[in-house]
């Protein structure tokens, strides 16, 4: 019997330690929560903008160590709603505002190109916008009409609600629908991985994320490069917006100013984004 009692005591002590840890965690969580409401601001929205906003916030907090910037995802739609309702100080959107959202204050912080990618082994170099639309509507199901091998096209798209998908729908599909038989992946990375492995796949991702494992197709004879986005010849682009319910003040204003300052813009373009077009602040 003795050993069990000793064991029990040890267990009790363990539970005691756990309790203390739990208590400490709770207290620290509570203090953390109360702090963000004081001097901090909240950004919420597009998961395409989120990684860039996080980098900006890191740099910003080095300059102003007192400021606290909390960045959350949720998607463009959620970001715009959050900005409207005031749940977030700044909403992030990776699509242009719709007409009913135009009453909001917004600033374009950068532009991002959409690249249509295929496997490097795929001989197809160029697609017209019509061909691209037909592929996603599965009116074209084989690579041969575009000069590829006679193989079925494996169409990859993003999930409903994704900013990248809505930009692609708006820019390429128009009124046509993406065929529901298309494979759905829930991140740029997953699309990239699939296209890298599958010689017959086609997908679309953010231009800044294209790497040597995949090849970006030319559209209407124009290569998908930063230069062509800048000079306007490659027009599969979308704006990255910061949105707010009214003209921002305080830390929110300071953070936005930092983002559109030359310093902020240098950070963004070194991460693969493209400077905003002129005159897009409201």
């Amino acid at each position: 019997m003795r050993p069990t009692i000793v064991n029990l005591k040890a267990k009790n002590r363990k539970i005691g330690v756990l309790r203390v840890i739990f208590l400490l965690l709770t207290v620290s969580l509570m203090t953390a929560c109360s702090r963000t409401t004081g001097t901090g601001i909240i950004l919420a929205g597009s998961t395409s903008v989120q990684p860039y906003a996080e980098i900006l916030a890191e740099e910003y907090m080095i300059l102003y160590p007192d400021a606290e910037i909390d960045i959350q995802g949720g998607g463009s739609a959620a970001g715009i709603t959050a900005a409207q309702s005031g749940t977030a100080d700044i909403g992030m959107s990776s699509r242009a505002l719709k007409t009913e959202e135009k009453s909001l204050w917004f600033v374009e912080i950068a532009r991002d190109g959409l690249a249509v990618i295929v496997n490097p082994d795929n001989p197809v170099q160029n697609l017209t916008l019509n061909q691209l639309r037909d592929i996603y509507a599965t009116a074209i199901t084989d690579w041969s009409p575009m000069g590829g091998s006679t193989a079925k096209i494996h169409v990859i798209t993003r999930e409903e609600g994704s900013g990248t998908r809505s930009a692609f729908t708006e820019l390429v599909m128009g009124k046509t629908e993406i065929n529901p038989k298309a494979i759905v992946q829930d991140s740029n990375g997953a699309v990239l991985q699939l296209v890298k492995d599958d010689p017959n796949a086609i997908g679309y991702i953010s231009l800044g994320l294209v790497n040597e494992n995949v090849r970006a197709l030319h559209l209407e004879g124009v290569a998908a490069t930063r230069e062509n986005v800048l000079n306007g010849s490659y027009n599969l682009t979308r704006p990255f917006l910061f949105v707010a319910s009214s003209q921002p003040t305080g830390i929110a204003k300071q953070f936005i100013d930092f983002t559109i300052s030359p310093q902020g813009q240098t950070i963004l373009s070194s991460e693969g984004l493209i400077p905003p077009t002129e005159g897009t602040t409201k």
Partner: protein, 281 residues
Amino acid sequence: MKKFKENLSERIFLLIALSALSVLALITVFIFIHGLPIITKVGIFNFVFGMKWAPSQGAYGIFPMIVGSVSVTLGAAILGVPVAICCSIFLTEFAPSMLRNIFRPAIQLLAGIPSVVFGFWGVLYIVPLIRNYLGGPGLSILAGSIILAIMILPTIISISEVSLLALPQQYREGAFALGLTHWQTIYYLLLPAAKSGIVAAIILGLGRAIGETMAVIMVLGNAVAIPQSILDPARTLTTNIGIEMGYATGEHQQALFATGIVLFIIIMILNASAQYITRKK
């Protein structure tokens, strides 16, 4: 004093047990509060049997996903159940105790592997194999079934092993005395006697398969269309929630909760029938 202590501990245990139960109740209520409005708005028939899922256009039909869930689970059953039952027969009837001591912990370990690891392994090895040798995009019902078949093995093996072990030793002795061979004993006596336990094991395994999310998102392709063959991509009820929850707001989010309701009901039915079968004997 002693009586008081006894009573007190009893109360405390009751309280803790109730708190576990109340969590279940809270989750259930929460899912239904969020999911029911959209079902009543769309109409239960249109929701369950609707062929089109396009939340951005207000179309919420989950029938392709029900078909997806059922076909992947069925595939997993076809691949996994025979292996699992043979394994449990081997463990109870044939395996020498040394082998048994290796097998049991190994199978428990299989149950402990996180599902994302199964999914990752599936994307890197199973999916390319299917694409290169069988054709299609590789992300397919077949890939999902293979992964799920492996994932349900531990559940089915351990429960059916327990029900085989629970049979009285006299069954075997009597059968041998009557001159039956070992295999005849297993096939004509032990398996029928343990039938209810084994069937319950299979149903619980299927419940695990139908509820699995992460591994399935990674290998299934998630297309919202009714699959034509086992090499086509498909979407299950769980992956529909998993893949779209990040962006969903408003009605779209409600529709995902409503998907959860349908899933909840399916799993309730599966578990209830497993319980019914084990009790019936």
